[in-house]
């Protein structure tokens, strides 16, 4: 019975059906299935299938994003039950991500957040035009492993350096890795400002994040 349910859960992720994924999570709770089992033996299997299909070029970005959304919908349903049981999902790491103050470019940053979340990171996406003080406070509050800072303009790109300095000032410089991204960002800029990681696209960003966590 639960095997069949796990297969349906995986399929809901593969199909990118968030409503079905959430319904199946309700069913699992009603049937007394351990939510961690539902995630690890059900949903994650679907995430892996989509990830593999994507890597070999058979699946496209919308399928990856929709799988991520379906996963999020399932986890949201399961989370209260996890908390009640006092168990916790093992995550790859905690990431706070934002587009810097003065810059409202959203899509690349959102995509990176979605991909990281689908890959198994705990992601706090703070949105766009985020003041540095808010960003670093959040990083401290959630005990972030990685802060991802996006900028699309050469004029706002300099704020990425300010974020690194602010983290240093708070004594978080050694603890928190900083990833930078956005169209004008290059590897030499990353090196110049002393950031830890950089990628030109969302899929690459996930790999960099995994490497930074020693799980690449």
């Amino acid at each position: 019975m639960s095997n069949e349910l796990f297969e349906k859960m995986a399929q809901s992720i593969i199909d990118g059906e968030d409503e079905i994924a959430a319904e199946l999570a309700q069913e699992a709770i009603a049937a007394g299935i351990d939510p961690l089992d539902a995630i690890n033996q059900g949903y994650i299997k679907g995430v892996n299938v989509v990830g593999e299909e994507f890597s070999c070029g058979n699946a496209f970005l919308p399928e990856l994003v929709m799988a991520g959304e379906a996963m999020k919908a399932a986890v949201e349903v399961l989370e209260p039950e996890l908390a009640r049981l006092g168990s916790k999902r093992e995550m790859l790491g905690t990431v706070v991500i934002a587009t810097v103050e003065g810059d409202i470019h959203d899509i690349g940053k959102t995509l990176v957040g979605t991909m990281m979340s689908a890959a198994g990171f705990e992601v706090y996406d703070m949105g766009v035009d985020v003041p540095i003080v808010d960003l670093v406070s959040k990083a401290r509050e959630v005990d972030a492993d990685i802060v991802g800072v996006s900028a699309l303009l050469t004029t706002t790109m300099t704020k990425q350096r300010d974020v690194i300095e602010a983290l240093d000032d708070m004594g978080l410089g050694d603890r928190v890795k900083v990833m930078v991204g956005g169209a004008p960002v290059t590897r030499s800029w990353m090196e110049e400002i002393g950031a830890d990681g950089y990628s030109e696209d969302a899929i690459g960003a996930v790999n960099v994040a995994k490497e930074l966590m020693g799980k690449g």
Partner: protein
């Protein structure tokens, strides 16, 4: 591998390159040329046919002058639509005005070696290899003899070439390399063996024959005789003009069109007078000579305009068209090759030329390159996508998705996106990687195309020919060689 053939069909794009009045003027000029200036037909058989139909024939100069009425009446006999048949009937090609099919090119004399990149003299094995790669490509609908089998004797070379192409592919062959009486008879015999009988071949012509004109205003004797033998057997026959502004045609584009048109439609009329109703196609690859050197250019804006204009002429006479496109003048697959091949192919396609020629050849149809062949297929693929135009309806306007996303956000998680994401064209040989990835490898589409060609040559197994048919082919070729 799939035996499907990708063709341009049901186009949403169009181009009015010549008005009805302009076409009438070109037609009138053409008839005046044929009637007053004349066209040279250096074949006793052809001259006898003309004479029997009331033409003015000068046997010394072999120039024929004939009235417009005779030409117009003869052209009415030509069928407006017919199929080119293939060994695999699923690969038959309807020449019906609603399909653009891509073929390889001919007839190169050198090959860029796939292993070491060297440019070397072409051999029969190259003809076989090119046919095998083309067999695997859905964009390639039919073969020309892409390179010359220079390791075989001239008197039977064209037949060896046909044999290895049929051994390596189930697709239609349109040969431009049969231009003697002996070879034409043997080619018809080979096609008859393959079809099973004369009647079967007439019903489904597995071979079509393309002859070149001898501009300005002339034909080659062997070509005329070979064409008449082929037409008698029911094989589709075409004549290609390659009139070149400044050297073999007037410097002006309209003058070039009229001279080339006189060559092609006079040949079409001859074939119809001899065999009324024989399938005929217009063929052309007009160009402009370089005014500094007189050299053949292999591409330029004049060529692109001719590419679109000629199908208007062929349509005027209700004849299918085999149009030279691709076949860049560039020496290697570079930016010039990309520009010339894209524009020539787009212009010939937008007017729905029935057959496009030229995939795979460089340096003005002299050097064959496997890389270029595969990249040319990608160009055809792009034009194929463009010709579908923009579909406008409730589903494609996507108002539900627009409303669901609202201002801000993105469309990636929309079911509408998932339904249509596979409509978005994907390249095989465009570099869409990150800069870093490119920077590490510094490779490009050429490298990927070369690798792909190597894979195909290693893995693609064409459907074999019946050994009995191969034996018959060998017997026919031997008899031509013994007579020579």
């Amino acid at each position: 591998m799939s035996s499907k053939i990708k063709s341009i069909t049901d186009p949403k794009l169009s181009l009015d390159i010549l008005t009805k009045e302009e076409l009438d003027k070109i037609h009138e000029a053409t008839l005046q040329i044929i009637e007053n200036t004349g066209v040279r037909f250096p074949s006793e058989r052809a001259l006898a046919i003309w004479e029997a139909h009331g033409a003015e024939v000068d046997h010394d100069s072999q120039v024929v002058k004939v009235t417009g009425e005779v030409i117009e009446e003869a052209l009415k006999q030509a069928p407006p639509a017919y199929p080119l048949a293939a060994r695999n009937p699923e690969q038959d090609l309807p020449l019906d005005g609603n399909h653009v099919f891509l073929g390889t090119d001919g007839c190169g004399v050198q090959v860029q070696d796939l292993e070491n990149g060297d440019i070397r003299t072409s051999k029969l094995q190259d003809v076989a290899d090119i046919a095998r790669v083309a067999d695997s490509l859905e964009e390639i609908a039919f073969h020309w003899v892409a390179v010359s089998a220079q390791d075989y004797p001239p008197e039977s070379r064209g037949l060896h070439e046909l044999k290895v192409i049929w051994e390596n592919s189930t697709k239609h062959i349109q040969t431009e390399s049969i231009y003697t009486v002996a070879e034409a008879k043997a080619a018809v015999e080979m096609a008859t063996v393959l079809a099973g009988s004369r009647e079967a071949l007439r019903e489904r012509p597995l071979l079509s024959i393309m002859q070149c004109t001898a501009p300005p205003l002339g034909h080659d004797g062997g070509s005329l005789d070979a064409a008449l033998i082929s037409a008698e057997a029911g094989l589709p026959v075409g004549f290609m003009t390659m009139t070149s502004c400044l050297t073999t045609a007037p410097a002006t584009l309209a003058g070039n069109l009229a001279v080339g048109n006189a060559e092609v439609i006079s040949a079409a009329a001859l074939i119809q007078l001899a065999y009324p109703g024989a399938p005929f196609f217009y063929a052309a690859a007009q160009t402009a000579s370089d005014p500094r050197t007189g050299a053949y250019t292999g591409g330029g804006p004049e060529d692109f305009l001719f590419g679109a204009a000629t199908n208007k002429l062929a349509d005027y006479y209700k004849l299918p068209l085999s149009m030279g496109s691709f076949a860049t003048g560039a020496k290697w697959p570079n930016w010039q090759a990309g520009i010339e091949n894209s524009l020539s192919t787009f212009m010939a396609s937008v007017v729905m030329s029935d057959m496009l020629l030229g995939a795979g050849l460089l340096h003005g149809s002299r050097i064959f390159s496997f890389e270029q062949l595969l990249m040319d297929c990608e160009i055809f693929d792009i034009v194929h996508k463009m010709m579908q135009g923009i579909e406008v309806n409730e589903e494609t306007l996507a108002l539900d998705a627009v409303h669901a996303v609202g201002p801000g956000g993105n469309y990636l998680a929309q079911k509408h996106s998932r339904r249509h994401m596979r409509d978005i064209w994907l390249p095989k040989y465009f570099d869409r990687r990150t800069y870093e990835e490119w920077d590490q490898k510094k490779d490009d589409g050429r490298d990927w195309a070369r690798e792909k060609a190597r894979q195909v040559l290693q893995n693609h197994e064409p459907e074999p020919l019946d050994p009995k048919i191969v034996k018959e082919f060998e017997r026919i070729i031997r008899s031509v060689e013994e007579e020579a």
